[in-house]
């Protein structure tokens, strides 16, 4: 068995080791890579920029800690934008852990230099409605009456007692919806029910794995898309606050480079040993 034949049957643990090093080592270096902005991310940013102060934005956190590395930077960037533009945030989750992720993101942003002096009042500037079971049915019911699904926020405060929720009956009283999704229920369900049935304005942030499934909805049903950590990094660049997304771009770049390197050498070995395989030397 020559070198190239050995490459074809390389132990997967060798690849694991290379990937681990490619991901971990760059995390120790601060490298500012140029992040080019895609139109679908710029669209989300532009929509947010054009919302007048005090507009009500519904942010649906439909993910759990498993997708946190990709979606949490998006959430933080979006929250920064809401605070900077003085928008009112209505937070909810179709995944049980989603609304806790929202609290984590908000707490982190409010500790940052630009926002540490900002005083946000819960129930006035933002509200966390918590989790509701029922997947897409929750979205559909919210289209006619939000209080039928969420009678109170996650702390148990009645919606009627929250100043932010006064006059908010359904999607027609919400200016923009932003969905952070890692699967089902997620963006596809928001498109089907909130957009198609009730005409809501929706943009989404998705994991890189899910993004290809969401692209068919852009740009008509979905006004903008942030795909994977790159999408998060783009939004951070647009905001002028490079944070976690931008920081991790170097690590992700090296990791993708390593995978591509393995694909190249795999194909090289495949073609260089093709003759031998055809002559029956090796299966």
């Amino acid at each position: 068995m020559n070198f190239f034949e050995k490459l074809l049957v390389i132990d997967r643990r060798v690849i694991f080791l290379f990937v681990a090093v490619a991901i971990a080592v760059p995390l120790f270096f601060k490298v500012n890579l140029k992040v080019d902005i895609t139109p679908e991310v710029r669209k989300v940013y532009d929509i947010m920029e054009n919302l007048p102060e005090g507009s009500k934005v519904l942010v649906a956190f439909d993910y759990d800690p498993g997708s946190m590395p990709e979606l949490q930077p998006m959430a933080e960037s979006f929250i920064r934008h809401c605070i900077r533009k003085k928008l009112k945030m209505i937070i909810m989750g179709l995944w049980p852990q989603g609304f806790i992720q929202a609290n984590q993101a908000l707490e982190k942003v409010l500790k940052e230099e630009e926002f540490k002096d900002v005083k946000l009042e819960e129930g006035v500037d933002w509200v966390n409605l918590g989790y509701a079971a029922g997947n897409e049915v929750v979205i559909e019911r919210m289209g006619s009456d939000i209080s039928a699904v969420f009678a109170a926020d996650y702390r148990g405060m009645k919606l009627g007692n929250l100043p932010l929720m006064k006059g908010v009956k359904n999607f027609s009283n919400i200016d923009f919806i932003y969905n952070l999704s890692a699967g089902y229920p997620g963006t596809q369900e928001w498109v089907q029910f909130a957009v198609d049935k009730f005409g809501a304005k929706l943009a989404a942030g998705n994991t890189a794995v899910q993004a290809p499934l969401i692209y068919p909805f852009y740009p008509k049903q979905l006004l903008g898309v942030l795909g994977g950590m790159k999408g998060a990094a783009e939004y951070e660049v647009l905001m002028g606050i490079p944070a976690t997304g931008v920081k991790y771009m170097f690590s992700q770049s090296v990791a993708h480079g390593v995978v591509c390197f393995f694909v190249i050498i795999g194909n090289l070995a495949f073609f260089l040993t093709r003759g031998k395989r055809k002559s029956g030397g090796q299966k």
């Binding site: 079971a133 039928a148 148990g156 692209y215 995978v259 393995f262 694909v263 495949f270």
Partner: protein, 217 residues
């Protein structure tokens, strides 16, 4: 009766949902909203059912010392600890608020463990890419090239590798084109196919022709 009653309920609710989509007015909207409210209540109870089932399956695994039974002990202990801490040790506040013991466990135990489990995917994707992306024929080569361009074009390294090319011909632009044109067209075709399948299956369920969801047959 065991089959007729569920079939009748399905037919009635299905017809109400279908009609209320086109005529969302009284009394269909009221019936529709009642049905969705009932669905959400059932969905909430199904979580409890899921937890009880999880406990039952894992207790059985422990008692019969089935394969990997020690992991079931960890699962049961984890479930008990999170529940007890959440219900009984939240210092009089909502158990999810910052500073509670539940939040501490969520932030510093559940969060990193969950993210770690998901991150294992990166290693498997790398290994699978190495073995699967081989230019065996034209179709496989097209897939290989598309994956290669998207992988490099979706990260900043793609810009540096192709910055010498004219504007709009960088790897990032090529990746965007792949995502927005052939990928989108393929996905839309699949989605239309699925939608047609869903429509036909839904009609069969409403009419009582499709009964496999009831079990048996």
């Amino acid at each position: 009766m065991r089959r007729e009653v569920p079939i009748a309920i399905t037919a009635v609710v299905g017809i109400i949902f279908l009609m209320s989509y086109f005529t969302p007015h009284f009394p269909l909207n009221v019936l529709h909203n009642s049905a969705t409210d009932i669905f959400m209540i059932i969905a909430a109870f199904s979580i409890l059912l899921g937890v009880l089932n999880l406990v039952r399956v894992n207790l059985e695994k422990i008692s019969k010392k089935k394969r990997d039974w020690p992991f079931s002990i960890v699962l049961i202990l984890g479930l008990l600890v999170m529940t007890i801490v959440g219900l009984g040790f939240s210092k009089g506040r909502n158990f999810m608020e910052l500073g509670t013991n539940f939040r501490y466990l969520y932030d510093y135990v559940y969060n990193p463990l969950s993210a770690t489990m998901f991150s294992i995917l990166a290693f498997f994707i790398a290994s699978a890419s190495y073995r699967a992306f081989r230019g065996r024929n034209l179709e496989a080569t097209l897939l290989l090239v598309a994956a290669f361009v998207v992988m490099l074009g979706r990260v900043p390294i793609g810009y540096y590798l192709s910055s010498w090319l004219p504007t709009n011909y960088h790897l990032g632009d090529a990746a965007s084109w792949i995502m927005n044109v052939p990928q989108k067209a393929g996905q839309r075709a699949i989605m239309i196919g699925i939608a047609l399948g869903v429509v036909s299956t839904s009609i069969r369920i409403i009419l009582g022709l499709e009964r496999t969801y009831l079990g048996g047959e």
